[in-house]
Amino acid sequence: MQKPEIRSLLLLTFIAFTPLFAETLFGQQQPFPTLFTNKWCQGKVTDAKGYPTPIEGFAALWKDYRDAKNVKDDNKARVARRFLGYYLDSRQQVGCVADLILRADAKVVSHQLVSSMTAQFVTAVEKQAGSSVASSGTTNAISKNLTSSLLSLANEYGALTSSTSGQTTTVGGTLDQLLIPLERSSNGLISDCAVALIKNATCISSDLLGVLGRVSYSASLDLSQPSTITGSATEQAAGGAQQVTGTQGDNSFSLSQFTAKVLMYAYKPSASDLKAESDAEKFTPAAASKIKELRDLQDAVDEKWEVWQNDAKDALLAADETNIAHVMDVQTQKLIQLLSGAISKSNSEEELVSIALGIAAAEANDATTERTVYDKALWKKPLASFEYDFNTPANQPTNSTFRLIYGQSLNKSKSLKITANGAASIYDSQPSSSIPGASRLRDTQFGAEGDYTIPAVGMLNSSLLSMAYYFQDQTSPAILNVTPSSPLSGISFTGLSSSATQVFTQTGHIHLGQVKLTLGNSSSGFSLPISVTASNRTELVVNNKISIRPQIGISYSFDSLLSK
């Protein structure tokens, strides 16, 4: 199926279901049936003691006020009343005020959502950054077939990262990031529950997203299989020439490696870590402009709004649990009338809902970026993680590796860090019995590395000295699948039987040590790694002596040219 057809199909499906979806959710007014049991504008605070705190939530503050009045604690009652008023003030709790407006004007919300979501989704589906898939120099990670198109969309929204090396493209990210395209294109209708201002819309539990954020994946795809063009003649040959119609075959790719990693334990990122990651992400809350629109309306009717807020506080605090929901409805309608009056357009109420919806969408959008920042900061300092690698190397049996990784800074300045890991690798199927010593357990591995961040010397402010040791017990021979008539790239055999389909090497211990010095400058993105590696053998090549291999490289990040 060609990609445009898929887009059209997605679009038509979306348009067909959206009105039904929105009407179902918002066809009726959403009052406050759960004002005292649910979490209208409530922080997740359970440890509030003594005097009220402003994030206890509306219901808790209302109860605090009444309790204080009962025991004649006027000071405590005054504090509760002040904080309760913040929930009705767009300069203090703009999300709560937007939430009030959206609850009260459910029908208008419904219609506006249908149109805005449709427009947004059209933009999202049609969006494809980079050059077209037809061009040989495309910068899109993957642009083939249905799955690839969706992956590409996810890539454009930052839901995954991708890198390409030769014919291999690697995509990866954390599981929660895969929801970003949905969140970004839904105008707040699908969001983290923490910022879900459109009630009864789909929200995803913050706790669930937190768990998903601790699972990362990485898939390497070999894109070397070329697509073929099939031509068929459409007319008779004339004078040695004939017209044909060409059909582009689907490109194909194969999975060369899949890695899943679960963060078992990590330090909670510090405020400084988060600030640094936020700066790296260039994050600035996008909701500011939408919020200003609502605050401008409040400013325009400032004195009347103050009277309303005072009256609303009195009415709400005088109400009891049986009629508080009704009182809130009445006060909300008055607020909407007041704010709508500051809008000069004839459809002022719809305009007000539009502003509130804009805030809901912008807040949801900001939340996805905040989550990305948190994920990245979290993954920077894993203490312990579990990794599963599914390997499908070319010309070798597939195998799986299970690895435990531990890393920790050893000193307060965090300049000295160690990382250690242990792993076991198995063949995914029982090796041929004709291979002596072959078993499902392919090998066991252990590795340790120490990294020391070298203090800045002149321009060299990002230098690292690393020492690493790696041990592998090759308990089962490494196996290569071969076809004698079609030799493997880079490997040649002599004396191989014409009937051989697999070759294998010797079992034994592999020891490898490496010392690496990386000299670098963080602002320019320049680094010069110099390493010396010594090993007794590899999986395929068995030496009778230690081989020592020096290496030197140059690395330069062109991103540094574009940053300030």
Partner: protein, 115 residues
């Protein structure tokens, strides 16, 4: 050492009086997760709407400034990491005055300061 008090003449409860005028510091005390200042959008404006000079952020959750006699507007902006984080904006002092709560949907706040 200056301290803040609620200005009871403001019925909205969002005006705070510093006495005596001088240096002050606000801090975000995170309750769940981590809330930090969005530094590019946190500012103090004088009566003419001009940003007061000399403000700083000693840490990502602290905002330091100094007021002279007069009326000012404090505009704060926050980032919640992860997004369900909550906190309280407090005067950075022993038993410091609580300015307001920060919920995931709060985004930013506006206060009036008098000194």
């Amino acid at each position: 050492m200056s301290v803040f008090a609620v200005d009871n003449s403001d019925p909205t409860g969002t005006t705070f009086v510093e006495s005596p005028a001088g240096p002050a510091q606000l801090i975000i005390k995170s309750k769940t997760g981590t809330v930090i200042f969005d530094q590019t959008n946190t500012v103090i404006l004088d009566a003419s709407g001009k940003a007061v000079a000399g403000t700083s952020f000693p840490t990502p959750n602290q905002f330091k400034f100094s007021l002279t006699a007069g009326k000012f507007t404090l505009k704060t902006s926050y980032q919640c990491h992860p997004p369900n984080s909550t906190g309280v904006l407090v005067e950075d002092a022993t038993n410091g005055l609580v300015f307001d709560g920060i919920l995931p949907s709060t985004n930013s706040q506006i206060f009036t300061l008098k000194a």
